[in-house]
């Protein structure tokens, strides 16, 4: 007899336990540690010199472009996983189908590459 429970239940249990561990460590450190704050300690760390300007400034758009490409290829990967589990049943039909799918995305990828969106310099 196989002991069966809902497969998602262990995740919940693990989550609660992990939260206990991580939260417990945080709280324990909060309770156990000394409390001697001073302005220099609480100030922004900027290699010892007084902080110049704020951290709230706009950053390069390249991070965004990277993230964009990431979601689109992530979607692709997820679709491909679907195909991979059914590789044996879909046979060459599936391979061709996926080849077309990937080829289309490669076109987009080549465009991005040519456009220099991935050049971090």
């Amino acid at each position: 007899m196989t002991a069966s429970i809902n497969p998602y239940l262990p995740i919940l249990v693990a989550f609660v336990l992990a939260l206990l561990v991580a939260g417990g460590a945080t709280i324990a450190s909060f309770l156990l540690g000394p409390k001697k704050p001073n302005p220099a300690k609480l100030d922004v760390y900027e290699c010892g010199v007084p902080a110049v300007g704020t951290a709230r400034q706009r950053l390069s758009v390249k991070f965004y472009l990277t993230a964009i490409l990431f979601i689109l290829f992530d979607i692709e990967t997820v679709f491909l996983y679907l195909w991979a589990v059914l590789f044996g049943q879909l046979k060459w039909f599936g391979i061709i189908e996926v080849a077309l799918f990937v080829a289309t995305l490669v076109v987009g990828y080549i465009y991005v590459l040519r456009r220099g969106a991935l050049n971090w310099d």
């Binding site: 965004y64 689109l72 979607i75 997820v78 679709f79």
Partner: protein, 101 residues
């Protein structure tokens, strides 16, 4: 009798309502887009519930398509937000009515 898919459909209705309220009452495009994500998630939940309700895979497959569309929407929408913020230094929806009739 209370069943999971039916309850799920109801939750998806509620989520949709809240999301729609978010899109309607927030003035910031970023928040509007986040609310749109709620709408899409509500739709996904409805699809998965329908899939369970009818015992077919159609709902789940369509859910993947919705997901892909959502990804594209987020990509283009956020690109627009960045472009807008650059040119107008504002992403308030009310400032953008160039298409006013």
């Amino acid at each position: 009798m209370l069943t999971l898919p039916e309850l799920g459909l109801y939750f998806s209705f509620l989520l949709f309502l809240v999301g729609l309220a978010g899109v309607m009452f927030r003035k910031n495009i970023l928040f509007m887009m986040l609310s749109v994500e709620i709408l899409l998630n509500a739709a996904n939940l409805a699809f998965v519930c329908a899939s369970k309700l009818t015992g077919t895979m159609d709902g789940q497959v369509v859910m993947f398509f919705v997901m892909a569309v959502a990804a594209c929407e987020a990509a283009i929408g956020l690109a627009l937000i960045i472009a807008l913020y650059r040119t107008k230094a504002s992403i308030e929806a009310d400032d953008l009515k160039a298409l006013r009739g």
